[in-house]
């Protein structure tokens, strides 16, 4: 289990990295944290001619408040996001989700740009990008462009990037909500999710004014359930609401079966998590779990 031969290049800037990708003629691959790529190289499932190591590009690593958004540099490690007070106060659902991202050693190396680009349908950060309606800034030979998260994730392990494009930073608009929950079930803590749901709401006088619902582990990409969000805002809050929410969430997914869980079980699990999540979100106004 050794990788096939490749050239190794460590550019010092994004411009130079794009140049290197261009020169590699579609045979280049970006190395960030390497937590998914290195096993793929060792299995020879990925065999790039040129490995472009981004780890020397220091300006890609940052977390900052920019207007009504939090912006995170693509090379920012999971561990930095997990422990960022700014993320904890402005993007609390993401802060909670980070605890579920694999294990400590992986969080020390893995990066947000790498995780989003890898586009695993059962990974937390792609789900958070959908949940917060993030915008990804990418740089290619023609300069920079911005892509909405919902357009970025095309399929399982597939994003919409051109071969010479690099994710540079990700902007997360801050929702003005007062109740939120992140729920995930994995076989073992840190494993890929069997099912996960994130719920965030703002309560008004008579009901829910605004809601966000995202799910993962139940489709080929993470899902934002906008229909369910709308319906949450249309009804009054009562004791039956979590049950109805559970049904709406269940009926909006049709997960596939795999080695770890059947589609029916994932659907059941997501429904149960949804019910539990909404109960918590409604009960804990501004409070976190």
């Amino acid at each position: 289990m050794k990788p096939a031969r490749f050239e190794y290049v460590a550019p010092a800037s994004v411009d130079a990295a794009v140049e290197t990708l261009l020169a590699a003629n579609g045979e280049g691959k970006l190395l960030a944290g390497g937590q998914s790529l290195l096993p793929l190289l060792n299995f020879r499932m990925a065999r790039p001619a040129v490995l472009v190591d981004l780890n020397g590009i220091k300006e890609l690593s940052f977390i900052e408040l920019r207007g009504e958004s939090v912006v995170i540099g693509a090379l920012t490690r999971h561990r930095e996001i997990e422990h960022s007070p700014l993320i904890a106060s402005r993007l609390p659902v993401m802060s909670a989700a980070m605890r579920h991202v694999a294990h400590l050693a992986i969080r020390n190396r893995g990066t947000i740009g790498g995780s989003l680009s890898h586009a695993d349908p059962a990974a937390e950060l792609p789900m958070m990008a959908m949940f917060y309606a993030a915008r990804l800034t990418v740089q290619g030979p023609a300069g920079r462009r911005t892509i909405a998260a919902k357009d970025f994730f095309v399929d399982a392990l597939t994003n919409c990037l051109e071969p010479e494009e690099i994710v540079v930073e990700i902007e997360f608009p801050i929702p003005q909500h007062d109740g939120w929950v992140f729920e995930e079930v994995a076989r073992r803590f840190g494993d890929f999710a069997l099912a996960s749901i994130a719920v965030s709401i703002r309560r008004g006088q008579s009901g829910i004014e605004d809601a966000r619902v995202a799910a993962m582990g139940v489709a080929d990409t993470p899902l934002r359930l906008e229909d369910v969000e709308r319906r949450l805002c249309e009804i009054e809050i009562d004791v039956r609401m979590p049950d109805r929410f559970c049904e709406w969430v269940r009926s909006s997914v049709s997960p596939n079966s795999d080695l770890h869980a059947s589609g029916e079980y994932r659907k059941h699990l997501l429904g149960e998590l949804a019910r539990r999540a909404l109960k918590t979100a409604l009960a804990a106004k501004g409070d976190r779990r």
Binding site: K2, R5, F43, R188, F189, D191, L194, H260, Y265, E272
Partner: protein, 800 residues
């Protein structure tokens, strides 16, 4: 304790090492990265081996084109079955069992491949990278044959034959009988039964299999460093296969990072690396990557058991019958044969219970999967799972408490020695004592009350008990594997004091995590009268003792420990004889302790160093005839072996929303006789239970209908990690054992009891829903399906 030792007045004051929780001496090097594993060997300009493995489950090899690989950069040689055909004799896993076909063990697939992962071609190159590059250039022309993915398919009419020469896919068949089961079942007050299954499991040691063959030109000799727990058996087998005498073939198991049975058989790669080293006159290295280790090391369980048990109206088990089909994989393993795992299931099924009549039949069936082999517990995890499920089903049918039905059926102290139907004899062991101690430690009555409360709240809370007995420290009268011709009944200790006064104790046993360097030194310290820190234990090296087999089958404390005791006594007597000259005292007035010989009741003493100097260096102090070399060797054979037993009790809760199982409480009460080191015993129990939890809840090798392994990585093959293993309480019952030192083996027990205890606890938790547990692991998916089915059934009933 030993009867041949005179009790001295000072005994009460003297600290003893046996029984003390001494920290493992090997841990300093292992935990600070100073251990040396097979892969750490750095022979001069070693070459690296990579194997091309079959992607076909079953195919004829029509041709292999290695020309491009041979021409690839860095490649020194490419070997196929044809190109090494004259360099070895096939190793045959022989057995005297009737109805058994021995599949020969070859270094590389010849003529056919029979499972995905079987080694077909070996590339030898200057680096592993280049070797793996060259693998991609090899063309194997396969003619695919029909795959056999399940045991039931292998015995179906018209099934393709895996081994044509065997004439059948049934590689072994055996039956044990006692009394008239059919008649007893007919008159039984209650009959319970079912079809039980334990799926295929990977032993999954932390260190993958790893071999370094160091070639010595001068003598045409090989030293094989192997991650094996049977270096002695490997030495003898390769010696025979390659025609290399033992003094030109040294096999060393250096530090070994776990085995759990997966390193307890001879492997084709061990043969290949020695053949290639000799052919090329070079040193070679190979370490399995995780994929190779999971897909080509011996695997565990894979049995389906149809079983039935009859009880009289008092809850006494009168009769038991079982038909077992074992999916043994494509080949027998050496030396244990493919009978090892499945035959043990029927050998041990009656367990620690007095059951009037018994019939146990087993078939071992060839499929397109890697061989099954020894795995911690061998056969008994499933025999215990089945017997303990039947006990609980019987208790339920009779309205008895699970604890009570076991009280009524366990072999009682007055019944020992007790012979069970398969011929196994239980010597006096604390079966009932373990049951009662576990019940007390777990607070059984309280726990039942807690369960009643939980059930009122609609919670799924369950309690599970498992009792079992195992045979450990097996001597020469019993074959570890059925009908096996090699001797596994003895072990040798060779203890010497050199001219510096240092003590070296050499053994053939091969610790791969058991802490034998510590425990054997504890025994020697006490029985030789040495300082613990002066003793160095060497083990796992075929050059150190004339014959050995290794560490497996819970034998090393009993056999290695017994040998250590006897060799220590012999050497202690030599020390006394020398000291009697030096101290001018009668031998009988000298006692040896703490690294010195002392005249009892005086301050006259000589240290081991002074004794050594007198014998070896200072030629003026002793008469010539008194200069005995300070070494002693003893080969110990416990003849029959000894029983070990335990009761496990688990309390679990099933979350109806997630279908996950949470273990709230776990207690083990075990009897391993005299405890050498309680810290190590606890560690063995904890580790064994953790593996049992894996078998009960997580681990499963899943093969599809084409016999392709789907769960080949650690993402898909899920093992328990620290958060999934609960804090457990271990209670020790130290009942007397007849073997030297009173030790009983205990390295496997945790894995035997845990699957059954957890299965019973889950069944108990789910019993309000009318759900039974008959297959392991009970994954959330399986529990979900059972609960859905139960919901469907109860809806159906409500509609009626």
């Amino acid at each position: 304790m030993s009867s041949d030792r005179r009790v001295q007045p000072s005994d009460v004051l003297r600290p003893r090492h046996v029984g003390a929780p001494i920290k493992r001496t090997e841990d300093l090097r292992l935990l600070t990265g100073r251990g040396e594993y097979s892969a750490d060997r750095k022979p001069d300009r070693a070459l690296h081996v990579a194997f091309l493995r079959s992607g076909q489950p079953h195919a004829r090899i029509a041709g292999i084109d290695t020309a491009a690989a041979e021409a690839a950069p860095g490649v020194v040689a490419v070997f196929t079955a044809d190109s090494i055909a004259d360099d070895f004799k096939a190793v045959i896993p022989f057995s005297r069992m009737p109805n058994y076909y021995a599949t020969p063990i070859l270094p590389l697939a010849s003529g056919k491949v029979r499972y995905v992962g079987e080694a077909v071609v070996a590339v030898i190159a200057t680096s592993r990278y280049l070797a793996e590059d060259a693998l991609e250039l090899i063309e194997v022309d396969y003619e695919p044959l029909k795959a056999i993915s399940r045991a039931e398919l292998a015995v179906a009419d018209g099934a393709p034959l895996l081994h044509e020469a065997a004439g059948s896919n049934v590689l072994l068949a055996r039956e044990f009988r006692k009394g008239d089961v059919a008649a007893d079942l007919k008159v039984a007050a209650v009959r319970v039964g079912g079809r039980f299954e334990m799926t295929r499991k990977a032993p999954l040691a932390l260190e993958p299999r790893s071999y370094t063959a160091e070639y010595e030109k001068r003598r045409d000799a090989i030293t094989l460093y192997t991650s094996s727990n049977i270096p002695g058996i490997v030495r003898d087998a390769i010696s025979e296969s390659l025609g290399l005498p033992g003094h030109r073939l040294r096999v060393v198991a250096p530090d070994v990072g776990g085995s759990f049975g997966s390193k307890g058989s001879l492997y084709p790669e061990e043969l290949l690396i020695c053949i290639a080293a000799r052919k090329l006159g070079r040193s070679l290295k190979w370490t399995a990557d995780r994929l190779e280790d999971v897909s080509s090391s011996s695997q565990a369980f894979a049995e389906i058991v149809d079983a039935e048990m009859g009880f009289d109206a008092n809850g006494v088990a009168t009769s038991l019958q079982a038909d077992v089909i074992g999916d043994v994989g494509a080949y027998s393993i050496y030396p244990w044969t493919c009978g090892l795992e499945p035959v043990q299931v029927v050998s041990f099924l009656p367990g620690p219970y007095k059951i009037g009549s018994y019939r146990g039949a087993v078939r071992g069936v060839a499929t397109c999967k890697p061989p099954t082999g020894p795995y911690r517990g061998v056969g008994r995890p499933i025999s215990t799972f089945v017997a303990e499920r039947l006990m609980d089903l019987g208790a339920k049918a009779l309205g008895l408490d699970p604890l009570e039905i076991r009280r009524r059926n366990l072999v009682r102290s007055e019944d020992f020695p007790y012979r069970i139907a398969s011929g196994i004899i239980w010597d006096k062991t604390g079966f009932l004592e373990c049951l009662e101690a576990a019940a007390e430690a777990v607070g059984y009555q309280q726990l039942r009350l807690r369960q009643a409360d939980a059930r009122k709240d609609g919670r799924l809370f369950g309690i599970g008990i498992a009792t079992y007995a195992e045979l450990t420290g097996i001597g020469s009268r019993i074959a570890v594997a059925p009908g096996m011709p090699i001797n596994t009944g003895s072990e040798t200790a060779k203890i010497s004091i050199d001219s510096t006064g240092a003590i070296t104790a050499a053994f053939g046993v091969a610790s791969h995590g058991q802490g034998l360097e510590t425990t054997l030194a504890q025994i020697i310290a006490d029985d030789l009268g040495a300082k613990f820190e002066d003793i160095s234990v060497i083990q796992g090296d075929s050059d150190e003792v004339p014959m050995s087999t290794g560490t497996y089958a819970s034998r090393s404390a009993v056999l290695g420990g017994g040998a250590a005791k006897h060799a220590s006594f012999l050497l202690r007597d030599k020390i006394k004889r020398v000291a009697s000259h030096l101290l001018e005292a009668n031998q009988d007035d000298i006692e040896v302790f703490g690294g010195q010989a002392v005249v009892i009741g005086t301050d006259r003493a000589v240290t081991f160093r002074q004794v050594a100097r007198a014998v070896y260096s200072d030629m003026k102090t002793l008469p010539v005839e008194a200069r005995e070399e300070l070494s002693a060797s003893y080969t110990y054979d416990p003849i029959n072996g000894t029983t070990a037993a335990a009761t496990h009790i688990a309390a679990v809760e099933v979350d109806p929303a997630t279908c996950f199982v949470k273990i709230h409480k776990y207690v083990v009460a075990e009897d391993c006789g005299k405890i050498i080191n309680p810290m190590i015993v606890d560690g063995q129990v904890h580790g064994g239970v953790a593996q049992g939890i894996g078998a009960a809840l997580f681990e499963e090798l899943i093969y599809d209908d084409d016999a392709q392994l789907l769960s080949a990585s650690l993402v898909d093959y899920v093992i328990p990690s620290a958060p999934e293993v609960p804090v457990m309480e271990v209670v020790h019952i130290e009942s007397e054992s007849a073997v030297a030192g009173g030790f009983r083996g205990m390295g496997e027990g945790g894995t035997i009891g845990a699957p059954a205890a957890i299965a019973n606890a889950i069944a108990d938790a789910l019993s309000p829903l009318g759900i039974d547990v008959s297959i392991l692991p009970m994954t959330p998916e399986r529990i979900f399906k059972l609960m859905e089915q139960a919901r469907f059934n109860s809806r159906g009933k409500a509609d009626e």
